[in-house]
């Protein structure tokens, strides 16, 4: 069942078309990843979905509400965690949560109970009465997520939730996202950390230059990028100069690659097993320390589809944040 349905969604600023007629749907209960480089149209799309940007043409429905006409009705059911923590610096953690709950019409007793519960759940109970400005970046991020879910939204929009925070906090946030999803919240996630998307998302859409270039489950996207099979062996000694020639002679249809030290990779145009190779190395009295089939990562898929280098994308984002 689609909880978000987007059809030919377009956003134009004067002559500039930021989002170019995109189509996708998000199913109830899934974590949907929205990946793309800076300026691809991710934030503009999110802004249209949360009612912070008008829709130029096309349609977007959220829980059946048409966002062109019923954005305020839809906003009751969504939680938003923007890419920058935008809570009130002068209010403390508890006051911030309580205020955010009040914006959704929650009663005072309900607000207080939920704020205390979330401060505990997000390991911020000790900092509940400290002003937000005194929080570390990771704490700010956690409190911002807590503020986004205080009214128990059906859909949570998370924009770059782990950018610029320490490893431990990022890990904690990823666990929180999985917990939230397990409790039934649909998550719409944008990130430029491909491995984060790979680890968290059920389905992913790649957006480049305002257009969705690919959409699918992680496995679907990966199998699309997989061309043949790569098997990798770590041997005790691969220095024998005759080894390459012997491999070519025995397996002429494959291509071998000596990576570094004692690692040998064999590229096969079709699916292949490990046994034949293991027998070959055994005959040559070579010990195998590790044997594995290398699958393409989501990063490989992204680079292949978009032609954009991930490292550059991450650096651009960090630079932008600074």
């Amino acid at each position: 069942m689609s909880i978000i349905k987007v059809e030919n969604l377009t956003k134009r600023y004067g002559d500039f078309e930021a989002v170019k007629g995109i189509n996708f749907s998000v199913h109830k209960g899934e974590i949907f990843g929205f990946l793309g480089p800076n300026g691809a149209g991710k934030t503009t799309t999110i802004n249209m979905l949360i009612g912070l940007a008008g829709i130029t043409s096309g349609s977007a429905k959220l829980l059946g509400y048409d966002l062109t006409f019923q954005a305020k009705k839809a906003q009751k059911y969504i939680g938003i965690v923007p890419d920058e923590s935008n809570l009130y610096e002068e209010l403390d953690g508890f006051q911030n949560l309580s205020f955010c709950a009040a914006l959704y019409g929650m009663k005072k007793s309900e607000r207080m109970e939920k704020a205390h519960e979330l401060l505990h759940r997000f390991n911020l109970a000790d900092a509940g009465n400290k002003p937000f400005r005194a929080y570390s970046r990771g704490m700010k991020r956690r409190l911002t997520i807590a503020a986004g879910i205080i009214h128990d939204p059906k859909i949570l929009f998370l924009d770059e939730p782990t950018t610029g925070i320490d490893v431990a906090s990022a890990r904690q946030i990823r666990e929180l996202i999985l917990d939230l999803n397990a409790s039934g919240t649909t998550v719409f996630l944008t990130t430029h950390y491909i491995e984060e998307a790979e680890r968290l998302c059920h389905r992913i859409a790649f957006i480049v230059d305002g257009k969705i270039v690919r959409i699918g489950t992680v496995n679907e996207l990966m199998s699309e990028a997989q061309e043949g099979t790569i098997v990798q062996f770590t041997l005790d000694d691969a220095s024998d100069p005759g080894l390459r020639e012997a491999l070519r002679h025995r397996f002429p249809e494959f291509e071998e690659e000596f990576i570094s030290g004692n690692i040998v990779r064999i590229h096969s145009p079709s699916p292949t097993g490990l046994m034949e190779f293991m027998k070959f190395f055994d005959e040559r009295k070579l010990n195998i320390y590790e044997a594995k089939i290398i699958r393409p990562s989501l990063e490989d898929v992204f680079v292949k589809i978009t032609g954009i280098e991930i490292n550059k994308m991450a650096k651009d984002k960090e630079q932008y944040k600074k």
């Binding site: 802004n47 912070l52 305020k72 906003q75 923007p82 920058e84 009130y88 209010l91 914006l103 959704y104």
Partner: protein, 244 residues
């Protein structure tokens, strides 16, 4: 009910965060004293407190409301916390009214300070308090909406201050508080009638000194119209500029 809770909490947060702060309280007290002292220095004679009271009250309202609202909204926009309000399930008109009401109350409180001071020095028994209160409320409302209009037009706090002054200082001299409108050069006299302060100040003069020059019902209607127009224009601009 949901909107009422949000409205009330936005208002309370703004009052606690921005308005009941020592710098603003001292502003509310020092400002009327400074204006009164200025009149004293200017005239070098004993001051007719009653004569200057409408002027000091008007200035207190105008300066308090326009600058506070323009600055607080611009400040929240800069920190993106305003986006949090825009994506909350509260109608834009209610949201902007909640943000504005704090400034209106601040303006009314500011206007009461010179009245309190004056009450220790002169008798205020024959003032038309109902009319005075209505004119203070309407002046605070139109000034706050002017502040909102300015806040929507700028993106930096310093721009808000500069832009506020662009409106405020000409208004002081054109509204007839210090120089009667009839004494102004004929060519700039029409300008006096397109600024809300002229009508608010005239109502205050009428209620305090029985010295109004404009038919009071007309002043009330014009002030309400100014309020409605400024608020509607601001809402339109918020939708156009902030809901991108």
């Amino acid at each position: 009910m949901r909107s009422c809770t949000a409205f009330k909490n936005i208002l309370i947060k703004d009052i606690k965060t921005y308005y009941i702060k020592p710098p603003n309280i001292s502003w509310g007290i020092i400002f009327p004293i400074a204006w009164t002292a200025m009149f004293f220095v200017k005239s070098q004679t004993p001051i007719d407190i009653r004569a200057i009271l409408p002027g000091v009250m008007s200035m207190s309202i105008l300066f308090g409301t326009t600058s506070m609202l323009a600055v607080t909204i611009t400040f929240e926009r800069r920190h993106r916390s305003f986006e949090r309000l825009l994506v909350a399930p509260i109608e834009l008109s209610s949201l902007m009214l909640a943000k504005t009401l704090g400034a209106i109350l601040f303006g009314i409180a500011n206007a009461s300070v010179p009245v309190i001071f004056a009450s220790f020095l002169i008798s205020l028994s024959d003032i038309n308090w109902v009319l005075a209160f209505i004119s203070v409320v309407l002046m605070a409302t139109t000034s706050a909406f002017l502040g909102l209009f300015i806040a929507v037009a700028v993106s930096e706090v310093f721009e808000a201050q500069t832009f506020s002054n662009f409106f405020r200082f000409p208004m002081i001299f054109l509204c007839g508080l210090f120089i009667p409108v009839s004494d102004l050069p004929r060519i700039i006299r029409p300008l006096s009638y397109i600024i809300p302060l002229t009508y608010g100040a005239d109502l205050l003069k009428l209620s305090i000194n029985n010295d109004g020059h404009i038919f009071p019902i007309l002043s009330l209607v014009i002030l309400v119209t100014f309020g409605v127009v400024l608020f509607s224009l601001s809402l339109k601009n918020v939708k156009r500029k902030w809901i991108y």
